[in-house]
C-alpha cells in the first residue's frame, strides 16, 4: 500500500475512534484539531495505545510519546505510519 494512502486510512480510522470512543459528540474534530486543547487526557491516551495495538496492529512505545506526536490526528497518523514502516523494513 502506498504510504500516503495508508497514512490517510490510519488518519480516518483514528478520527473515527476519537469521535466514537473518546470525545463527546459536541466536540468538533478534524485532523488538525489540537487534541490536548480539546481535552485529550491520560485516560484517552491509554485508550489510544490500546486501539493502536488491537486494531491498527501497531504497538506505540511509551518512550516515544511526545506532545507533538499526539497533538493532532494528522501528527498521530504520520507517526503511527512511520512506526508501521519501521516494523516492516526492520534494521
Amino acid at each position: 500500500m502506498e504510504t500516503k494512502t495508508r497514512r490517510q486510512l490510519i488518519q480516518t480510522r483514528l478520527l473515527g475512534f476519537l469521535r466514537e470512543e473518546v470525545f463527546d459528540a459536541q466536540v468538533t474534530l478534524d485532523e488538525h484539531t489540537d487534541l490536548l486543547e480539546a481535552g485529550f487526557d491520560s485516560l484517552a491516551l491509554l485508550r489510544l495505545l490500546n486501539y493502536s495495538e488491537q486494531h491498527l496492529g501497531v504497538c506505540i512505545p511509551e518512550a516515544q510519546i511526545t506532545g507533538d506526536r499526539i497533538r493532532t490526528v494528522y501528527n498521530m497518523a504520520e507517526w503511527i505510519d512511520t512506526l508501521e514502516t519501521e516494523k516492516q523494513t526492520g534494521p
Binding site: 480510522r13 473515527g16 485508550r47 511509551e62 510519546i65 511526545t66
Partner: protein, 503 residues
C-alpha cells in the same frame, strides 16, 4: 496536622478548620499551582469564603447535596471547600460520564444544586474571583431532602449510575479527618512538600487533595502526559511528592532525557496494581523507588509500602498503624504457594453509610470489619500482597465498572437477548471490560461495532466493552439461573474484527 473535633463550634467544619490551621501556619506559602496561576494559602481561604458567600446567596446551605461536574482545576478544589463552608455535601460527577449517566445519577440522588463547567439553559453563570473561572450553578426546585445531620456529610461518591450497583459512599467530615490523620502519620507530608498531581479529582480527592492542603503542602496540577511535561513540572516546582498511577510511571520510566527529578522524596502508586516491570524500569531510570498504596473509597488507603518498597516491591506494604487486616476463607492455591484468602480491613475513617438504598456503616460492617472484595495474603513480616478480586467489580485504570450496569445497557438493545460482562487482564489498564451476548432472535442482525457504538452513547468510555463476542448461550448456574461470572484473564476474547472506523 491535628484537630480535636469535639472542640469545634459554630460554623467551621472540621475540614475547613484543618485548612485554617494550615493557613495560619503559612499564609504566604503557595497552596495551589495551575499553569501560571499560583494561589497562596491566605488567598485560597479568602477565595473559598468569597465563593461560599456567592453560593450561600443563591441558597446553598446546611445539609444540601451539591453535584460538582468540574475538571481538574483550582476552581474544582475551591468549589468543593466552598460547598463545605456552606454546610453542604459534595457529590462529584466525573467528566467522562455521558449525559445519560449523569441524568441517572441526578435522578437517583436528587441533589439540591448542580455545579458544572458547562452551561445549561437553567443555570446561572458565576465567575470565580481571582482565577476568573466561570462555573454554572443550577438549583433543583423539587425534593429538598436533607441527609441525617449526625452524619455531617462532606462527600458522597457514586461509582455507578444505574440500578444493581448504585450505592453512593457517604463520608462525613469527622470520618475524613480521621482518615487523613491516620494516613499522614505514615506519609509525613507537611509544609515543606510540593505534590505533583496528575490523577482525576473526581476519583481521587479525600485521601489526597484534602490531606495535602490540611498538612500545609503545595499542590501543583499537572497534565498526566507526556512524560516530559510531568518531568518539567517536577523540576520547575522542585516537587517532593509524586502521586500517580502505574500508567504514568510507565510513561516516566520510558523517558529518554537525562532529567533525574531528584527532588522527589516519595513516589506513590495507586489505582491499580503496579507491574513489577514498571517498578524496575522506573527505578533504573530515576533511582527512585515507587511505593504502592492500597485502599478503596469505603476505607481510605489502608496500606502503603513506605518501608521496604524495593525489597518487597510487589507488596502494597504493611497496614497503616491504627488499622488491621485479616485474611479470611484461607485457600491454598498450590503445594508450594502461600495461603491466600479474602481481605478484610478494620480501622478509623471508614465510610459512614451507603446513600441509596440508605444503609449505615454499622449495618454493613461486620463488627467493624469491611470486606474489600479482594483476594490477598500477608507474609510473615506483615506485608500485604493483593492477588486479585473475587467480587464482580472491574477495575479499569482505577475506575470501577459494575458488570450489571453494562449488562443492563446491552440487554436494552433490541437485537440483544442476554449479555454477560466480565473483566479481561490488560497490561496498561489493569483490566478492561469485555462482553458476551446472545441475539434476541434468529432474525436479529448486529455487528460488534454497532453494539459498541450503542454502548458508547450510553456509558462512559471506560465502561464500554473493548470486545464483544456473540455466543449461543450464557452459562448459568443450574439451581438459581444466575450468570456464572468469569474471572479476569481466564478467557481471552479475540472478538469479531469488524470494528473499522471510517470504512
Amino acid at each position: 496536622m491535628s484537630v480535636k473535633c469535639a472542640q469545634l463550634t459554630g460554623s467551621q467544619t472540621p475540614l475547613l478548620h484543618l485548612l485554617s490551621v494550615a493557613t495560619q501556619g503559612r499564609p504566604d506559602s503557595i497552596a495551589l499551582v495551575q499553569d501560571d496561576i499560583r494561589i497562596k494559602y491566605s488567598e485560597l481561604t479568602a477565595l473559598i469564603e468569597s465563593v461560599a458567600q456567592d453560593l450561600r446567596e443563591r441558597g446553598v446551605s446546611q445539609g444540601h447535596l451539591v453535584s460538582l461536574h468540574f475538571p481538574n482545576s483550582i476552581a474544582c478544589i475551591v468549589l468543593t471547600y466552598a460547598v463545605w463552608r456552606c454546610g453542604g455535601a459534595v457529590v462529584p460527577i466525573a467528566m467522562e460520564l455521558t449525559a445519560m449517566e449523569i441524568s441517572s445519577i441526578v435522578a437517583q440522588i436528587r441533589p439540591h444544586f448542580f455545579i458544572s463547567n458547562r452551561n445549561s439553559t437553567r443555570a446561572e453563570t458565576i465567575i470565580c474571583p481571582r482565577i476568573k473561572t466561570p462555573y454554572f450553578l443550577e438549583q433543583y426546585a423539587e425534593c429538598m431532602h436533607g441527609l441525617a445531620i449526625p452524619l455531617d456529610p462532606a462527600f458522597i461518591r457514586f461509582t455507578s449510575g444505574t440500578t444493581g450497583a448504585f450505592k453512593g459512599v457517604v463520608l462525613g467530615h469527622t470520618t475524613i479527618v480521621e482518615r487523613i490523620q491516620s494516613l499522614n502519620r505514615v506519609l509525613q507530608i507537611g509544609v515543606g512538600d510540593t505534590v505533583v498531581w496528575v490523577l482525576s479529582m473526581a476519583h481521587h480527592f479525600v485521601s489526597t487533595i484534602v490531606l495535602y492542603l490540611s498538612a500545609g503542602a503545595s499542590i501543583v496540577l499537572s497534565p498526566g502526559f507526556p512524560a516530559e511535561r510531568i518531568i518539567n513540572v517536577v523540576e520547575k516546582e522542585k516537587a517532593t511528592i509524586l502521586y500517580a498511577s502505574p500508567f504514568h510511571y510507565a510513561l516516566l520510566a520510558a523517558d529518554t532525557s537525562s532529567c533525574k527529578i531528584s527532588t522527589i522524596r516519595m513516589a506513590i502508586s495507586s489505582t491499580v496494581a503496579l507491574p513489577e516491570s514498571v517498578y524496575i524500569d522506573f527505578y533504573n531510570r530515576f533511582g527512585l523507588t515507587i511505593r504502592q498504596a492500597y485502599g478503596i473509597i469505603e476505607t481510605g488507603l489502608v496500606c502503603v509500602n513506605t518501608e521496604l518498597p524495593l525489597k518487597k516491591r510487589t507488596s502494597v506494604g504493611c497496614v497503616v498503624p491504627g488499622y488491621e487486616v485479616e485474611i479470611r476463607n484461607i485457600e491454598q492455591s498450590g503445594e508450594n504457594e502461600p495461603t491466600c484468602g479474602r481481605i478484610f480491613v478494620k480501622g478509623p475513617g471508614f465510610f459512614d453509610a451507603y446513600f441509596s438504598p440508605f444503609r449505615s456503616a454499622g449495618q454493613i460492617l461486620d463488627n467493624g470489619w469491611f470486606d474489600t472484595g479482594d483476594i490477598g495474603r500477608v507474609d510473615s513480616e506483615g506485608y500485604v500482597y493483593i492477588l486479585g478480586r473475587y467480587k464482580e467489580i472491574i477495575n479499569v485504570a482505577g475506575m470501577k465498572v459494575f458488570p450489571q450496569e453494562v449488562e443492563q445497557v446491552l440487554d436494552e438493545h433490541p437485537a440483544v437477548g442476554e449479555s454477560h460482562v466480565f473483566s479481561q487482564d490488560n497490561s496498561r489498564y489493569g483490566e478492561t471490560v469485555v462482553a458476551e451476548v446472545t441475539l434476541s432472535s434468529a432474525e436479529s442482525r448486529i455487528i460488534e461495532s454497532e453494539l459498541r457504538s450503542y454502548c458508547r452513547s450510553r456509558l462512559a468510555s471506560y465502561k464500554v466493552p473493548e470486545k464483544i463476542r456473540f455466543v449461543e448461550s450464557i452459562a448459568k448456574t443450574v439451581v438459581t439461573s444466575k450468570i456464572i461470572r468469569k474471572r479476569s484473564g481466564s478467557d481471552v476474547i479475540q472478538g469479531v474484527e469488524d470494528r473499522c472506523y471510517g470504512n
